[in-house]
């Protein structure tokens, strides 16, 4: 009985967590769609373009559980997205603007997820968004920290989204 109950509890927790992560994925798709016009959806994580992450935008989520939300893109995807956001030629965008734009997309994603999750009774507060830039950046965490990574994209752009609980 105990084992069965535990399994049910674990399953419910997993379903709940999956729904919460879906809020972030949907939030990122909505932010990218509205701000750039790219129609993106969740895709598989085996895309080779995900191996080249040059800009990662992040925010710290604090609540019942604390987590780090990270969105990673290649420089090419960042240029593509931000040029559509601001209506400028990609070649005219400075590195700082690419980083600022990606951190703003993370900010919007977290804002959307916050509203969706508040409707289900889960509340959290947000840090200021930030960005880390450089070649082939990867966020690595201790083994005991639960990490969930997804990808969204379309033919022209692909973004990774990670949620790390600590």
């Amino acid at each position: 009985m105990y084992g069965q109950g535990g399994d049910v509890m674990a399953t419910n927790a997993e379903i709940c967590m999956d729904m919460q992560h879906q809020s972030f994925i949907e939030g990122l798709c909505e932010a990218v769609g509205k701000m750039t016009g790219f129609c993106v959806n969740e895709v598989g994580r085996d895309d080779l373009r995900l191996k080249c992450i040059n800009i990662s935008g992040g925010m710290i989520l604090s609540g019942e559980r604390n987590a780090l939300l990270v969105v990673g893109v290649s420089r090419k995807t960042a240029s593509n997205l931000i040029s559509y956001m601001v209506g400028m030629d990609a070649a005219d965008l400075a590195e700082e603007e690419l980083a600022d734009g990606i951190s703003e997309l993370v900010n919007m994603t977290a804002g959307i997820a916050k509203i969706k999750m508040a409707e289900c009774g889960t509340n959290f507060s947000l840090s200021s968004p930030f960005a880390v830039t450089g070649d082939n950046i990867r966020v690595t965490v201790k083994k005991h920290i639960k990490r969930y990574e997804y990808a969204i994209g379309c033919e022209d752009v692909i973004l990774s989204i990670g949620i790390f609980y600590f």
Binding site: E30, A31, M35, I82, M85, D100, N107, M108, G111, K114
Partner: protein
């Protein structure tokens, strides 16, 4: 017509600049509440609309909104919040403090332009 955007994101300020160019309005840019107050002082409050972010380092957008509404020469400048803070309590707080419109990010450019026109009294609310 002259608008002011107060937002710590250079990309958001660029998006708002693109909208102002479509509308052929002048635009003043401030990246903080303090800078916004300095620009308003220089212009003697001659601004037709302020687009205001909520989350900014130092003085946040809500604090700036309260400050503007407490100063006679700025009190009547319409303020539209443009922010990722989309929860009902934030909207109520901003409207009670005197914001005339509340727009949540993300937004499409055409929606931004439409809201600006509404704030300027040139579109249907």
């Amino acid at each position: 017509m002259r608008m002011m955007t107060v937002d710590d994101s250079s990309v958001v300020r660029k998006i708002i600049r693109a909208a102002s160019e479509v509308l052929e309005y002048d635009l003043e840019e401030a990246e903080s509440g303090i800078e916004a107050l300095e620009i308003l002082e220089k212009l003697n409050g001659q601004v037709d609309l302020i687009l205001l972010d909520w989350n900014m380092p130092g003085m946040n957008g809500y604090e700036l909104l309260q400050r503007l509404k407490s100063i006679d020469k700025y009190r009547n400048i319409p303020v539209m919040m443009v922010t990722t803070e989309g929860q009902k309590e934030n909207i109520v707080m901003a409207v009670k403090a005197g914001a005339v419109h509340y727009m949540t990010k993300p937004f499409a450019m055409e929606d931004l332009i439409k809201r600006i026109l509404e704030c300027m009294g040139r579109g249907a609310m």
